[in-house]
């Protein structure tokens, strides 16, 4: 099985996001904070007349934030008609990944447990596939 994945690093770990969900990869320019929202929602940023909800993947997973996301790279995801920018440590290229999604006995760790679909082998080693809807707290996880 071959699939396209965006390889990125989140909290220092290799992760992959299925490429079909991704609109583009941007560099966060400016963020307008939204008071009252959960901490993993950093705020809104504008991308060509559209407002994106900026999500700090580190915080969403339960890690410490890396600080101000301005200048960080983010994957733009469209989900149920809403656009999100997932802030990651770093994003490299979209790669063609060979092989099936594998599970690991014992899981991937507390933080990753809810937001991982499994893992794949990449040229740079194993990467965890993000379950984006689960990461965004949306119950209906389509990919699962």
């Amino acid at each position: 099985m071959t699939s396209l994945m965006l390889l990125c690093t989140i909290a220092g770990r290799q992760a992959a996001i299925p490429a079909h969900a991704i609109r583009s990869v941007i560099e966060i320019d400016a963020v307008e904070p939204i008071p009252g929202t959960p901490p993993w929602i950093v705020g809104l940023t504008a991308l060509r007349s559209q407002a994106l909800t900026v999500v700090d993947c580190r915080v969403a997973l339960g890690f410490e934030s890396a600080g101000d996301p301005v200048g960080s790279r983010a994957a733009v995801i469209a989900l149920d008609g809403h656009l999100y920018a997932l802030v990651v440590d770093d994003a490299s290229d979209v790669e063609e990944i060979e092989g099936d999604i594998q599970q690991l006995r014992g899981g991937f760790g507390r933080q990753w447990a809810d937001a991982a679909l499994g893992m794949v082998e990449t040229p740079r080693g194993p990467a965890i596939i993000l379950d984006v809807p689960a990461l965004l707290g949306l119950d209906q996880s389509e990919a699962a």
Binding site: E32, G36, T37, T45, R48, S49, A51, D80, H82
Partner: protein
């Protein structure tokens, strides 16, 4: 009306086209429930629409078809081919009639009864008779107008086209993106310094773009007024039919809603209105018994809140009897008694949205067939809205609708707090006040802040605390600006912000579910510089801070206000109806005087010299408010005022709002027409003095028992000339020989009162001069003396 009619024709035709396939499919398989339902819905909708357009024939046909189909739906009747053909014949006839309506012609008489009779089950003999008796009539009609029954192709010029809303959506989205691209370009141009060769064309582009944006917005949007406009008539007709009195009150008619959405909610709202009048509002007698005003109030209030419209339809009727509803649900087999027992009041109330359930004991032409609330809810859900019901027994029922408004322009106020800018829908803001200048009106109770607004204490919340949580440092209220927010339920609160910046039109875009979950925001929008700005969800914020009491409708608040006015010292405000007179001036009249709001045609008004009257429901009512102004063309708005006994119709150009006026009015200057002058938002508003008004137009009340009078029977003069005078003086003329009555009039008779009878006599003579000194008779053409004598005798009789 023409617009509505065109809509009706277009809608009916569209449904006909859509149901064409269904009908054929149903014919093939009459037991197909889904087809049956969709055909039933079609005739039901046609029936509903006919109700307010006054097409009795269409209504009769659709009602008959609906009845027959309802029988089938209820399983009391098997669909057979005879029934299918009969229904199809009626649907064809509906199509033909619709064509005739569009062409502005009359559909030839006759034929309807045969069609309706064909729906009847069995008894073919009777059917045959009916057909036979009907046939000649329709044939005759057919002969008279050769071939008229065949549908004629209409040659009306098309002045409008119907477009798919998707296309409009696309255009709209494109235009708003264009605007943002323009803004982006503008910023870059500014950064690049003065470039005369570019600035000119850019200016032109901007102007054109804003024009295009305006018109694309208008393309999709329609004021709710357009929708509300059809309700007064509907309410009037329904309440007349049912012997009830209902006043309608609209608020937020200027809220704009997507055109498609307007069409989608029209039917559900019509259903709710029908139900409210049929089941909710009681008959005047019952209302009086229950201690309410005899006129029921049906209230529509619309508010735009972010990308949603909230619409509240409330009546002050009898409420929903949940026990009866539950009993019906058990009866219909929808729930078991055990399930009912486990339900709370809310769940029972929600049973009204259950299919196949109706609280009406009798099926009336108005409502109560079980299509109703389930269809209403299905339609509202289909368009992404929600509907909720709240009901207080004896106090009334309210339906809360929330409708989405994804692609809408709205006017918003921008406010600043802790250096961040937020927008809130302008329709919520009643007034802006600077706390500094209103220090004396701020008060604390416990830990809560209050603000005195028009004599009432309203709760205060600071946006800062709403968004960032309670701060450790006490807020400095004196530096806040206060926005008085009025919710759709009519409740008020004050929102403290750091700055009120500006108002602007914004395009609201939906926000991610995780942000919606905060209950603080309704959407987002982009500022001119491309920065996103959050739109505050005022109703949700109010609910979060416990500022809304759901069951408290405006009608019972008014009752409370009324109670206060009757009380001793606690008087704070006068509830009044604000209106704009024909002369364009705004005035107010006490709400208690207003019986109902009416729209009538110009032709119902009759003005001759000082006498101005209007015909409403076959009654003559004195018209006021027209003096010195020209009457509007077409329809006129009226406020029907009543002092309990007599009625006056006050013509207005616009009914504005129900408002609370301060009790301490400024004394009017010499003009006793007004009770006083109130200041509303800085404008003087005279309050009409009810006493002066009714005193001026007071008519002698005809006593229920008028004295009787006997006239000479043989005199032609007495019959033709005298009788009208006597009647005008308040007498009933007797024709029966047996009774002498209270007065006898004798002409040229014996001038001496006869001792035989105690009946007073009034003598008239034909000669101008009296016959002698003892002659007390009155010359028959001495009108003054005659009337005076009649009046005197009447008074003596009464005493």
């Amino acid at each position: 009306m023409d617009d509505l009619l065109a809509d009706f024709v277009a809608e009916t035709r569209e449904m006909l086209e859509a149901s064409g396939g269904e009908i054929v499919a149903w014919e093939a398989d009459p037991s197909d429930r889904a087809r049956l339902d969709s055909i039933f819905r079609f005739v039901h909708t046609v029936k509903g629409n006919c109700g307010f357009f006054d097409f009795p024939r269409l209504e009769r046909l659709s009602h008959a078809a609906e009845d027959a189909l309802a029988e089938v739906r209820a399983g009391r009747r098997q669909p057979d081919s005879a029934l299918v053909s009969a229904v199809l014949a009626i649907i064809d006839r509906i199509g033909e009639m619709t064509d005739a309506i569009e062409a502005g012609g009359e559909f030839p008489e006759g034929g309807d009864n045969a069609l309706i009779a064909a729906l009847e089950e069995g008894e073919p003999e009777q059917e045959g008779q009916l057909l036979a008796s009907e046939a000649p009539a329709s044939e005759a009609a057919g002969d008279a107008a050769k071939g008229r029954p065949t549908p004629q192709p209409t040659q009306a010029i098309q002045r409008s086209i119907r477009l798919p809303v998707d296309l409009l959506d696309e255009v709209m989205k494109g235009v708003s993106d264009l605007v943002l691209a323009r803004n982006d370009l503008a910023r870059r141009l500014r950064e690049g310094g003065n470039q005369p060769t570019l600035d000119g064309p850019f200016e032109r582009l901007s102007t054109i773009l804003s024009g295009v944006r305006d018109s694309t917005t208008r393309m999709r949007m329609q004021r709710l007024e357009h929708l509300f406009g059809s309700f007064p008539r509907l309410v009037r007709d329904l309440s007349n039919d049912l012997g009830k009195q209902v006043m309608v009150d609209f608020e937020g008619g200027d809220v704009e809603l997507d055109r498609e959405m307007v069409e989608m909610v029209r039917d559900p709202l019509t259903h709710i209105v029908r139900n409210a009048i049929d089941h909710g509002i009681e008959k005047p007698v019952d209302r009086l018994m229950a201690g309410k005003r005899e006129i029921g109030l049906l209230r529509f209030a619309a508010r735009q809140s972010g990308n949603q419209i909230s619409l509240v339809i409330s009546d002050d009727g009898n409420g929903i009897d949940t026990d009866r509803l539950a009993a019906k649900a058990v009866e219909a087999g929808l729930r078991t008694p055990q399930e009912i027992a486990a339900m709370d009041e809310r769940a029972k109330l929600d049973l009204i949205f259950e299919p196949g359930l109706s609280t009406a004991d009798q099926v009336s032409a108005v409502s109560g067939r079980g299509v109703g609330m389930d269809v209403v809810r299905a339609n509202i859900l289909k368009i992404g809205g929600s509907i909720e019901v709240a009901s207080t027994p004896k106090d009334g029922t309210s339906f809360y609708l929330r409708l989405p408004l994804t692609l809408s322009m709205m006017s918003a106020l921008t406010v600043e707090t802790r250096g961040q800018i937020f927008a809130l829908p302008r329709s919520f803001a009643d007034e802006i006040a600077f706390a500094r200048t209103h220090m004396e009106e701020l008060a604390r109770a416990g830990e809560s802040q209050m603000f005195t607004y028009r004599g009432r204490r309203i709760p205060c919340i600071a946006l800062e605390e709403v968004l960032f949580g309670a701060s450790a440092v006490p807020l400095d209220w004196s530096r806040k600006k206060l926005l008085v927010i009025r919710l759709a339920t009519g409740e008020l609160f004050a929102l403290g912000v750091d700055q009120v910046l500006d108002h602007e039109d914004v395009v609201v875009k939906p926000i991610a579910p995780a942000i919606v979950a905060t209950g603080l925001y309704a959407g987002t929008t982009l500022l001119d510089d491309g920065r996103p700005m959050m739109l505050l969800d005022m109703p949700s914020i109010a609910a979060k801070f416990g500022l809304v009491t759901k069951s408290r409708s405006r009608s019972d608040r008014e009752q409370n206000d009324g109670a206060e006015t009757n009380g001793a010292a606690s008087q704070a405000t006068i509830t009044a109806m604000l209106y704009r007179g024909l002369d364009g001036r705004r005035r107010a009249v006490r709400l208690g005087l207003v019986r109902r709001i009416e729209t009538i045609e110009r032709s119902a008004i009759d003005i001759e010299g000082d006498r101005a009257q209007i015909v409403i429901d076959e009654r003559l009512i004195t018209l006021i408010g027209h003096e010195g102004s020209t009457l509007p063309e077409g329809n006129c708005r009226l406020l029907r005022l009543s002092d309990g006994a007599s009625e006056l119709a006050l013509i207005v150009s616009e009914v504005l709002d129900a408002i609370d006026l301060p009790q301490n009015l400024r004394a009017p200057e010499a003009n006793s027409e007004y009770e006083g002058i109130a200041l509303v938002e800085g404008h003087p508003i005279p309050l009409i003095d009810g006493h002066t008004l009714f005193a001026r137009h007071d008519r002698p009340v005809t006593e229920t028992v008028s004295p009787t009078c006997r006239l000479p029977e043989d005199s032609e003069w007495a019959r033709k000339i005298l009788e009208p005078l006597v009647i005008a003086a308040g007498y009933t003329v007797l024709r029966d020989e047996a009774d002498d009555g209270d007065l006898r009039i004798v002409i040229d008779g014996d001038a001496v009162p006869s001792s035989e009878t105690k009946t007073p006599l009034l003598h008239l003579r034909s000669d101008r001069d009296p016959r002698g000194a003892s002659d007390a008779s009155i010359y028959r053409y001495d009108r003054e003396a005659l009337m005076a004598a009649l009046a005197r005798l009447r008074r003596e009789n009464a005493a």
